[in-house]
Amino acid sequence: MRKVRKALKPVSLLMAIFMLVLCTPCQTVLARMIPTETVLDAARVDAARTQVSTFLARQDVVDVLVSQGIDPAEATARIAGLSDAEVVRLADRIEQLPAGGDTFATIVIASIVIFVILLITDIMGFTDIFPFVKKKRI
């Protein structure tokens, strides 16, 4: 088995490079001109932050936060500390949730989001709730 693994090492390295070449778009250098991709990314981050803050302002979400002993203002402050990529990921997760309706669905939805929020902040090292999260070393 080890012999097979050893033989496949250069192949897998080659595959990795091959895939990297396939997947990395070749960026034509335009000096100081700002390309459309950058504009789109900035717009997405902006939209994401709005989506997240709107979500946290919902009464049903606030109710669940409070019932879990989390100060909504504290949750907002922690979200503000997330990087652009993390906020976009969080907003994507919120978007995927089914639209609020009956009470059970709402509670379930809020629980998932809180789980995600707490998980992210745990990874960031702001909280220490989940023992399975390895702390980020600064």
Binding site: M19, P25, C26, T28, I34, V39, A42, V108, I114, F115
Partner: protein
């Protein structure tokens, strides 16, 4: 604190499991008495029978030819087929579309399949024709349906116009998480697309320096979304990339009137002015960009620095 978080975790996991099982595709299959003829078929999509393991090249060649690119499955195979994998990676398929100056647009939702086929756009789908633990991945092209018989019609493998029951198709397509790829010429917009998604599909072409194609696609986007700032920026960047400095300058100046307070337009205008040797005007423009502020302010400040050092 610990007991509460364990409870929370349990609730979260349970609900994730529940939601996972409840998944619905949401595909609204057409009815026979709808406004389209039945059976309904997309016109002018050629059929290429696949070679062994080469369903990817065959499917992509069909879609490319429909979109106006004369490419044979052999030529496409060179761009997508990975012999060691005996197949074509999805990322390679997408990249190949772009290398052929076409827009690669992935379906946002499975339900969009119906809208796109109804609009006459063929869709390349990835199916798992085997079992989840013994997958048989296969690319096919959806070319129509027979609503009376309850079947999708595919160009698949070595069979043209192959009928597959709706439910069977949904099941095999679901295993790829409903991966669906359209190959669009820049003059044709997807039937069901959000502005941001379409522009995100075009911007890689701009990044690759395919100025004409990208510009044409951005113009198409402006027809549907006339207030799109990114599409407007895109056209200007492409004009600049083509070396049409005067046109680029006019374009950015017009855009500034249409979108006041958008620093990116001032920044890009500055670059055009600098290239024309108008350094002082360029400095003015980039300073106006910085005044506009916004999330890209750091970029504008960098531009200012570089113009100063020019």
């Amino acid at each position: 604190m610990k007991a509460a978080s364990v409870r929370l975790l349990a609730v979260a996991i349970l609900t994730v499991i529940l939601f996972g099982c409840a998944g619905k595709t949401g595909i609204g299959w057409p009815r026979p008495e709808g406004r389209l003829p039945d059976p309904y078929l997309i016109a002018e999509i050629p059929f290429y029978p696949q070679k062994v393991h080469q369903c990817g090249p065959a499917a992509l060649a069909m879609a490319l030819n429909w979109s106006g690119v004369a490419a044979s499955p052999q030529e496409v195979a060179e761009q997508v087929f990975t012999p060691a994998r005996k197949g074509s990676l999805q990322s390679a398929m997408v990249a190949a579309v772009r290398r052929n100056d076409r827009i690669a647009f992935l379906l946002a939702e499975p339900a969009d399949l119906i809208d796109e086929i109804a609009a006459g756009h063929p869709v390349i789908v990835l199916q798992n024709l085997g079992l989840s633990w013994v997958p048989v991945w296969h690319y096919a092209v959806v070319v129509g349906w027979n609503a009376t018989a309850g079947e999708v019609i595919l160009h698949s493998g070595t069979t043209s116009f192959k009928p597959t029951a709706f439910a069977t198709f949904e099941r095999t397509w679901a295993r790829s998480s409903f991966w669906g790829l359209m190959v669009l010429p820049p003059s044709r917009l997807p039937a069901a697309a959000q502005e941001a998604d379409y522009l995100a599909a075009v911007s890689p072409l701009e990044g690759m320096g395919r100025w004409q194609t990208a510009m044409r696609a951005y113009r198409s986007a402006l027809e549907r979304w006339p207030d799109s700032l990114p599409a407007t920026v895109g056209i200007g960047v492409c004009l600049y990339g083509l070396g049409a400095l005067e046109s680029a300058e006019v374009h950015f100046r017009d855009a500034i009137e249409h979108f006041p307070g958008e620093g990116v337009l001032f920044n890009n205008l500055a670059q055009v002015l600098l290239d024309q040797g108008r350094r002082d005007e360029a400095l003015d423009a980039v300073r106006q960009a910085i005044e506009c502020g916004g999330p890209l302010k750091a970029h504008f400040e960098q531009t200012l620095k570089e113009i100063r050092n020019h």
